[in-house]
Symmetry: C2
Subunit: 200 residues, 2 copies
Amino acid sequence: MSGLLIVIAGPSGAGKGTIFHSLLERMPNTVASISATTRAPRGKEVDGVEYFFKTKEQFEEMIARDELLEYANVFGNYYGTPKKFVMDGINSGKNIILEIDVVGAEQIKRKFPECVGIFIMPPSFEVLEKRLRGRATDSEESIVRRLSEAKRELSTYKMFDYIVFNDNLSEAIAQTETIIKAERNKISRNESKIEQLLNE
Amino acid sequence: MSGLLIVIAGPSGAGKGTIFHSLLERMPNTVASISATTRAPRGKEVDGVEYFFKTKEQFEEMIARDELLEYANVFGNYYGTPKKFVMDGINSGKNIILEIDVVGAEQIKRKFPECVGIFIMPPSFEVLEKRLRGRATDSEESIVRRLSEAKRELSTYKMFDYIVFNDNLSEAIAQTETIIKAERNKISRNESKIEQLLNE
């Protein structure tokens, strides 16, 4: 059976990074997608491990050839999700998981509707505000901006398949894991197996 | 949050009855649907516990008033699923679970598309045949009939949401439970909560 492409999104402060990393630890056969980027390697970063490092020309060729599930230009550097890495992974039965913003998630959903879109949400905007203030690293202006950003992100909810309210972290991790497991039993993911049984 | 209506179907010999009963034991807040019937109570059966006992006239009135999610006439007796019992349960946050044949499942799916349809399937028709022969209660003719019936049932798979291959019983129970849990995180089941958050 093919693996799944799991797309995790949600506002900053929702805990999606923590959930993402614990899924990678807890779920066997689940690996993180590796992005391509034109930014220079830093420190001990290795090509094909942290990122696929590309020149601007190489990256734009990947765009032209439709070899990316999504991409964005962030402050002059390209970042994107190579289709080949994802498809090779799921075709070999692995789940590929990636954490991304809602704009990237939308691009992926359009190119690969079979992906599982999971939106991680704080229990309320009030709680999110408290969390952002609790960090004490953000200015008032940045908190206000993040909150309105969070609202804008949640408003795209209809393109996602699931929502997890991260009220209690371990519960939110368990729910996300449960979603991924249940997806394997979806009729749409078992059609070829069923048709094979029917034709026996 | 509303509960779910969970519809369990699958061929005779797939183990759906066992899965059904263990879900009722394992999942808090999950109760069995109670059917209405025109057959006479047997032994210590109590109205509203094993069945809602109805006269033929009462049952046909329920049909006329569209008060049943599905019904069938089996050897002269009516059996059906009262809509009110199901709706009261899920509106109070309970999961209502019912075990039914594919014809009934199709009626329910048409009247209540939000239900979760789970098809329980043996790992193969070969295994099903072995199981039926293992019972040693069925005649050769009945085994052949049950097998062709099973194939006909599986061929309706597209109306279901999930399929569970019952190769290993405890694994099949766990998968079914996982499906029910994950459904609560579906975007479609959280729209009113999300819209409320967005309008805060």
